[in-house]
């Protein structure tokens, strides 16, 4: 016996109605309380540096588990292999998923030359 099967709804990649959207942390619907993702920034980024030599690099932990230790190890790598680079390890204040801390970003702009932000997952 042969069956005819409705394909359309089975696989979003083959085309149910689509519209642009922003990602909540879940697969659909509103995010869990306290875990709402902010709207993505539309800001452009600063020009890349020509070199890291004698520059100050901010290593910013976003607050996700394991991120701070990763940045500490990254700092140790720079201390050993590129000692002219000054590194500053910071943990982003506030909730890992929600708060966008302007004081830290202003500090990085004023005192630093570049930022490495992480680690998620």
């Amino acid at each position: 016996m042969a069956y005819e099967i409705r394909l359309q709804v089975m696989s979003p990649e083959v085309g149910v109605e689509k519209s642009p959207g922003r990602p909540p942390p879940g697969m659909g619907g509103p995010p869990p309380p306290g875990m709402g993702a902010p709207a993505p920034s539309s800001s452009s980024f600063t020009k890349r540096l020509d070199t890291l030599e004698n520059k100050t690099l901010y290593l910013v932990d976003i607050g996700f588990g394991g991120g701070y230790n990763f940045m500490v190890q990254l700092q140790k790598w720079f201390t050993k292999h590129m000692p002219s680079v000054t590194t500053v390890v910071k943990r982003k204040p506030g909730n890992v998923f929600m708060d966008d801390n302007h004081e830290l970003w202003e500090e990085a702009k004023e005192k630093g030359h570049a930022v490495v932000l992480g680690v998620a997952g």
Binding site: G21, G34, R48, L49, G65, N69, F70, V72, G121
Partner: protein, 447 residues
């Protein structure tokens, strides 16, 4: 820092470097190896990528909010090519459209029959879901949900509940590397109309409605939520509860307290589905015969420090009756308040819990109470972390063969009306009080 410059190739969009995972819980040596090791996406040493991305122009990439698939998608075929049942079952499985179990193939005839279970138009939008792969919101209609209902094995009379689950817009599966689990609770007349089990073995795999409704939620997440391992499913161990998401009805008839949906503002005669989500679940081994129920909860909840005071206690009707008649908790709110004040754990145990440190410590540093005060306490000081009794969910399910209970860290996700999706409103159906009776005898019945 140097100036910002739009349209400058040296000021391109945010570049990403991918480390191996996980970072959490790894030793310094492992993290060192990550740093000098290769990016799993590119095969390039991570430290070289970091230095390169900070010092070299980055090619401009498409904005992450663009939707390349939408732009490229053509008109999809309406139907799969006809084939044998075995081949189609295999195709569904191999394309990742099932939960691993055989499904009921959603033929047009079966989908049409399912649509008879609701008054809603087939093209009415029920929900929308974010697609991580394409970064789009995808809308789903009543007909789309009917396909899922058929696949799960639902009868048309289950369909209003499945539509309510879809309308809740809560996913059963989450893309976290942790092992999320979800729960469905059904309240109101629909439970009995479709034969849900709220009593003996309500959480045992024996009842069609309980099994199918919970399965439909997961199939929605798989098909509509586009859940795919290593794309949008990253849970290291996964969670077996997602096969039917702890779906049951509340035993309202045997409970001494108001039904759960009534405590959320619905009328008792309304039919409602409620969703819950969390990580930890503990089923009592025996009854509270040597310690009080409250003492037992104090021991069990101490192993799962709560986020936002969330807890869900599912108790047999015998437990609720004992709490009311012998311990004086007239309402479930009375008992939730007692729990809130009396369930204690050491501050050090609370703050050294990984997810508490990650998600709650920031609130303490911002001065939010009671977290700020708890943060100042010595490790051995006792705190009452279930500080908000409104977030303690008390549910009555079971068949009164033993006064057992289940404890979970589930938070309440929300409730959705089932009546909204019925084929006929409950009021119309039961206007003369004859709800649920067989149809009038006809000549055909006498043939």
């Amino acid at each position: 820092m140097e100036f910002s410059a739009k349209n400058d190739p040296r000021a391109a969009s945010l570049p990403f470097v991918y480390t191996p995972y996980p970072a959490i819980g790894m030793s310094p040596q492992v993290l060192d190896n990550y740093i000098v090791g290769n990016d799993p996406e590119t095969g390039t040493p991570i430290i070289d990528e970091i230095i390169g991305l900070l010092t070299k122009p980055v090619p401009t990439k498409k904005s992450p909010t663009q939707s390349p698939v939408a732009a490229e998608a053509g008109l999809p075929p309406e139907l799969l090519e006809p084939d044998t049942e075995d081949n189609l079952q295999r195709l569904f499985y191999e394309r990742g459209w099932t939960d691993g179990l055989p499904i009921v193939l959603p033929t047009e005839e079966r989908v049409k029959a399912m649509l008879a279970g609701t008054n809603a138009a087939p093209d009415e939008v029920v929900s929308e879901s974010f697609q991580f792969a394409t970064r789009e919101m995808v809308k789903y209609t009543v007909e789309h949900v009917a396909v899922i209902a058929v696949m799960a094995g639902a009868r048309p009379e289950y369909f209003p509940v499945i539509l309510a689950i879809a309308a809740s817009r809560q996913p059963a599966l989450m893309p976290s590397t942790t092992a999320f689990e979800s729960m469905l609770l059904v309240n109101g007349p629909i439970r009995n109309e479709i034969g849900m089990n709220c009593g003996i073995g309500a959480y045992t795999a024996v009842n069609m409605a309980n099994s199918v409704l919970g399965r439909a939620w997961t199939l929605m997440s798989i098909c509509h939520g586009f859940a795919r391992p290593k794309q949008t499913l990253w849970s290291s161990q996964g969670n077996n509860h997602t096969y039917n998401n702890m779906c049951a009805g509340e035993n309202e008839e045997r409970s001494v307290w108001e039904p759960f949906h009534v405590s959320k503002g619905f009328k008792a005669e309304e039919s409602v589905v409620s969703t819950f989500m969390g990580w930890s679940f503990l089923s009592s081994t025996g009854a509270a015969s040597n310690r009080s129920f409250g003492e037992e909860l104090n021991i069990q909840l101490a192993v799962m420090p709560p986020l936002g005071s969330a807890a869900t206690i599912i108790m047999d009707p015998l437990v609720a009756r004992n709490l009311k008649e012998n311990e004086g908790f007239t309402t479930k709110q009375d008992f939730a308040r007692w729990m809130s004040e009396n369930i204690k754990m050491p501050a050090g145990q609370y703050w050294k819990t990984d997810y508490i440190d990650m998600l709650v410590a920031s609130e303490a540093y911002k001065g939010v109470e009671p977290y700020a005060s708890w943060k100042k306490l010595p490790d051995d000081a006792l705190i009452a972390p279930y500080n908000n009794p409104d977030n303690i969910n008390l549910i009555v399910v079971g068949g009164e063969t033993s006064p057992l209970w289940k404890v979970a860290d589930y938070r309440y996700g929300g409730s959705a009306s089932v009546d909204r999706w019925r084929a006929l409103s409950s009021d119309d159906e039961c206007a003369d009080g004859s709800c649920g009776l067989p149809d009038d005898v006809t000549d055909a019945d006498n043939d």
